[in-house]
Amino acid sequence: MATDVFAAIDLGSYELEMKIYEMSQKKGVKQIDHVRHRIDLGTETYATGQISAYHMDELIRILTDYNKIMEGYGVTRYQAYATSALRETRDNDTVLELLRQRTGIEIDIISNSEQRFLDYKSVALNNERFFKFLEKPTAIVDVGGGSIQISLFDNDTLVTTQQLRLGVLRLYSTMQHIQPPHSKYPMLVRELVESQLNVFAKMHLKDRKVENVILLDDYVSPVLQRVNLGMDEKSYASARVFVDYIGTLAGKSLTDTAKKLGLAQDNIMLMYVSGLLLSNILSVLNAETIWAPGGTLCDGIAFEYAERKRFLRSSHNFEQDIVACAQNISRRYMGSKSRSETLQTIALNIFDSMKKIHGLTKRDRLLLQICTILHDCGKYISMVNLGDCSYNIIMSTEIIGLSHLERSIVANVVRFNHDDFEYYKDGGYRFHGIDHDAYLTIAKLTAILRIANGLDRTHKQKFKNVKVAVKDKELEITVDTMADISLEKGLFGQRGGFFEQVYGLRPVIRQKRF
């Protein structure tokens, strides 16, 4: 049957959510069930790093039930992700194993950047509206419990994304410490968030203009679904009217507001805090229109699965977002665009001609591409400690869409492009969290990057046209150039050694003069 029934589970910091989808080539992706259970794990794990036995029991009970619901629909595949609450749990391996054993559901923990990327993909499920909205300069504001993520778009490509520790639960618990009357909330929230938002604006916004804001959150979105705020269509709002509306809430009973809007009473304070937070963000961004598509992480998970299984084809290239993000980081550290482009051409060329030999995936190709883009970011700090500095910059910069492991791979590959290769056994702290497979990927990508780098030793982009072919035990690199390449040829052997060690192929340069 050409129909898949897919379940996506999101073990969030205050809710355990599951959505069931039906997917087929003909009908695309259709949501058929949506189950949510409130469970406040965040407060506990942020504070103690543990999940109490009480909550574990509850998780087991609900996940068992979810498993039954999945059975009830004949679900063929599922994907379960846990986010910050589990990330911050110290013994998360045992927690996940226990849940697997007791409920049969395997849960993976995803990093913030992966999570945000999926959130972002959830919007893309609304294909047409999404791209129409992107026609104008747009920012995605993703409000989570612990932090928020602001991503900026330029011509429908993601250019930068920053995490700020201004999550709504975090703000709310701060407010609970102070216990102000709710008329004082607007001022206090502003004071709490203003400085960070200003820094963000200064660093990343510069003179960029943002007209549209896509809002991803759990509390304000339902409000936009219910009240018209200056726009004809529900779920859209004029930023100005929205800010005014939130302003008026200071003088109203929130209980009445909740009743009027049909919102859950216990969420109303979080809605208020989110609304104030968003008001501040909107004024910093100077945005005009808000759109709250109301998607959740589960939609992103489903989108990813559907894309992979080709139930869905998006005209938007999400990989390009990751690349653009990397480019933006490179620009920030004054990387050379033309150099990395040459490097990229050569490296990917080599990668593609060795498909049968290296056994790497399309995803690894993307990582290689990112390595070429970020290959020299460390020089911004130090020309001497280039490897180390690059490594550190990459490790502390979020690249949306990459998992922590993937980021670690990229950082190590870039490091070994400059420094000596470290073997797995004697790897230091930088191999922390790198498993055996990832190590091999590092080695393979490093070998390719080093060759590519060697071909452009002088950074003068001497090689306009490079052809790569595997012949017997050689990797034949034919270059079209009139320039003198004796330096490259001379130093090539050094770099070729590592390549040969990894692939069992000797790289050779042949010059073709035209």
């Binding site: 069930d33 259970h37 059975e71 629909y73 004949g74 679904q225």
Partner: protein
């Protein structure tokens, strides 16, 4: 109350919440019981149906005492003073109710003595009045019966200084006696309960051409001396005690009352006697003992001219040989033409939404729906809410079978359904054993909604089939109650149905509802909005008309909204079988409102709502009445009916009932119900619906039918 103030200011200074515009709900209920009684008086009602109606009024009254009068007593005991919808304090209510019940009971026995007994005699049946006047053959038979069957199960009890006053159980019939020791002169109280394990009525073998019926208490009275051998019987009379026996507070009461009573728990008198029924001519000395011991007030003593507890008349209905005195004008349920039994039910539903009107149309398809789902290999899951089911329910059996077949079965069983609890627990456990996921109700809420969801994996994906109804999944009552039910597989309903069951399983509410409106969270506001929208239409000079059919209406906000709509010019027709706290014909308030009540052969139970909506009408059906308990303390569903054909059917139901001139009563300006003046053709809506359904289910053309249908002698199922 903020809503109260708002309306006061909005509408030309008329306070639609004015207490005078409302009828107390207990008194309104008693009016309903009088309407039932009027069926027993109606000349057109066959004799045995009259017996049935009279019996129903008696059992209704028993329940009324146990629940409502008990509740008023609770309030008074707790010192609760909050006035009711009509501004009456609990004490005032109890005064009025007591007075009305006395009157009502007199009327019951007037009907019994002056109408029914005579009519029974005309038909050769006699209910023995004086137990000591039997001829010797009869006496012989009865006394032997006493010795062989009655005597062994009797437990006579005496009361004196060494023995405490015996416990007299709620609603039981007892015989009290004054006895005197053979050697002493002192009189003592003794009593014996009339056993409920034996039939209340006993037919004496016919000797004189008249069929004589004797009541069990009379048989015992005849032989009472055999129970107290060492005593002389001074006198003996039957009596009956009604107690405040409900352990839980009636859900109809406000929450603050519950709190109040909790606070005063100690002052609550469990099992307090609130009604003492005695036969006319009851011995004064005996009565004194009873009133002293039971601590009943004078007005709580009901002196009855005839046999106590008229529910025995229902047993009379069952005696053989009087079929010609029963009603046969109502057709038995007809098959639903859209759902022929030889076709796949899911396929039929896929062809379009189907609306069934029970009992005119058979309830079988609903049972078949669950049964088919249980054995259909494509079905993945079945989910259902069950409120009251029949004993030996085929639905329960089907659900258990489905679980056995590996389907995922979730059932919400409402254990709090009044008086049904034990019954429910038994089969709920059985379902659990069979592997069903059983939810035993929700904390603090009764689940009254009637919804079934079947999830099926079909070639082009998951399909959801939904059944929504106004009546319970009870195949027995479905033959007696009028209800509507709808089958649909439209996606919007399916999504909502899934969301309903998610909420019932304790998960969060969905982001949006497509079609359904649920109580207690949204329904009340939705109803108010619909009424207000109609008022707005009227103010704008657009067509505005509300027709609402339900069992009871007593929610003050809803009634006030109706008043406001009426004063804005909305035409409002209410078809309310039971309690109606709304008054018609109040100048400036409810002149545009008509209230009619249909009490007939079947129990009117469907809730159907029509809103004209400025020319684009909307139709709804619901499990909920417009009562506080339904809108605020129960899980209920209201669903729209959108298919034009089905709307036509609903319209026909409402329209025909609005023209009923046989079984309909209309509320007049004094708030009393009077029978509709019969002009032109007689329209008995229940009969018409039955005929139509039968007509419709016949094959259009006999020649087209490939199967010959043998005809049998019509002997009314005997």
């Amino acid at each position: 109350m903020s809503a109260k103030k708002k309306i006061e200011t909005v509408s030309n200074k008329i306070n639609f919440y004015n207490d005078e515009y409302y009828i107390n709900r207990e008194l309104s209920w008693l009016q309903f019981n009088s309407r039932c009684l009027s069926e027993a008086k109606d000349k057109a009602t066959p004799l045995f149906e009259k017996l049935k109606f009279l019996s129903i009024t008696a059992s209704n009254l028993d329940e009324f005492f146990m629940v409502r009068v008990a509740s008023l007593k609770d309030m008074i005991n707790a010192g609760y003073k909050k006035p009711d919808i009509a501004g009456m304090s609990p004490k005032e209510q109890l005064d009025k109710v007591t007075e009305a019940v006395h009157e009502f009971q007199n009327e019951q026995y007037r009907v019994y003595n002056h109408m029914l007994l005579q009519e029974l005699a005309d038909n050769g049946i006699q209910i023995v009045r004086e137990y000591d006047k039997l001829n010797s053959e009869e006496a012989d038979y009865i006394d032997r019966y006493f010795d062989d069957f009655v005597y062994p199960v009797l437990t006579p009890m005496a009361y004196d200084s060494s023995r405490p006053f015996p416990l007299i159980r709620n609603k039981t019939l007892n015989i009290g006696a004054l006895v005197k020791g053979k050697e002493s002169n002192e009189m003592e109280f003794a009593m014996v309960q009339v056993p409920s394990v034996l039939p209340r009525i006993m037919e004496i073998p016919e000797v004189s051409g008249v069929r004589k019926i004797m009541l069990l208490e009379q048989i015992i009275q005849r032989n009472i001396r055999k129970l107290f051998l060492n005593y002389d019987i001074v006198c003996c009379y039957p009596f009956r005690v009604g107690r405040n026996a409900d352990l839980s507070i009636d859900e109809d009461e406000a929450e603050d009352l519950l709190k109040e009573i909790e606070k005063q728990l100690k002052r609550r008198q469990w099992g307090q006697a609130i009604r003492l029924e005695i036969e006319k001519g009851f011995d004064k000395r005996l009565l004194k003992i009873l009133t002293d011991e039971l601590k009943v007030e004078q007005r709580e003593i009901y002196t009855i001219d005839g046999p106590l507890d008229l529910t025995f008349l229902m047993k009379m209905y069952g005696i053989e040989g009087f079929d010609y005195l029963k009603e046969h004008g109502y057709n038995s349920p007809a098959p639903v033409i859209q759902l022929p039994s030889d076709r796949d039910i899911f396929e039929c539903i896929r062809e379009g939404d189907i609306l069934m009107h029970h009992p005119y149309e058979s309830f079988d398809p609903v049972v078949r729906f669950v049964e088919a789902a249980a054995s259909d290999p494509a079905v993945l899951a079945i989910k259902q809410t069950l409120y009251r089911v029949s004993g030996n329910s085929p639905i329960i059996a089907a659900l258990a079978k489905a679980a056995d077949n590996g389907k995922q079965v979730s059932v919400l069983v409402e254990l709090k359904a009044r008086f049904d609890e034990e019954n429910n627990i038994v089969w709920a456990k059985m379902l659990e054993k069979a592997g069903c996921h059983v939810i035993y109700g929700l904390k603090g809420l009764k689940t009254h909604s009637k919804i079934t969801l079947v999830v099926r994996k079909e070639e082009d994906g998951i399909m959801r089939y939904v059944h929504l109804a106004t009546g319970n999944y009870n195949d027995s009552t479905a033959k007696l109650y009028t209800d509507v039910g709808m089958f649909t597989c439209a996606e919007a309903y399916g999504e909502d149905a899934t969301a309903v069951f998610n909420m019932l399983s304790g998960y969060s509410e969905p982001a949006v509802w497509n079609k359904l409106t649920l109580a207690p969270l949204w329904l009340k506001d939705r109803v108010l909005d619909l009424i207000k929208r109609e008022a707005d239409h009227a103010r704008n000079g657009e067509p505005a008309h509300i027709i609402a059919k339900m069992n009871s209406i007593c929610h003050k906000d809803v009634i006030a909204a109706l008043y406001e709509a009426s004063s804005a010019g909305v035409k409002i027709d209410l078809i309310v079988r039971g309690i109606c706290c709304l008054k018609t014909g109040i100048p400036g308030v409810s002149e545009n409102i008509n209230v009619r009540s249909i009490v007939g052969n079947f129990l009117e139970h469907s809730r159907i709502f029509y809103f004209e909506n400025g020319g684009s009408p909307e139709y709804y059906a619901s499990s909920a009445d417009w009562m506080p308990r339904n809108l605020e303390r129960r899980v209920e569903i209201m669903f729209p009916v959108e298919n034009p054909g089905l709307r036509e059917k609903l319209w026909h139901i409402l329209d025909t009932e609005l023209h009923d001139n046989v079984k309909a009563h209309i509320m007049n300006k004094e708030g009393q119900y009077v029978k509709v003046a019969k002009r032109g053709d007689l329209i008995n809506s229940q009969k018409i619906f039955g005929k139509e359904a039968t007509e419709l289910s016949k094959p259009k053309n006999i020649a087209e039918s490939r199967v010959f249908e043998p005809e049998y002698r019509d002997d009314h199922g005997l």
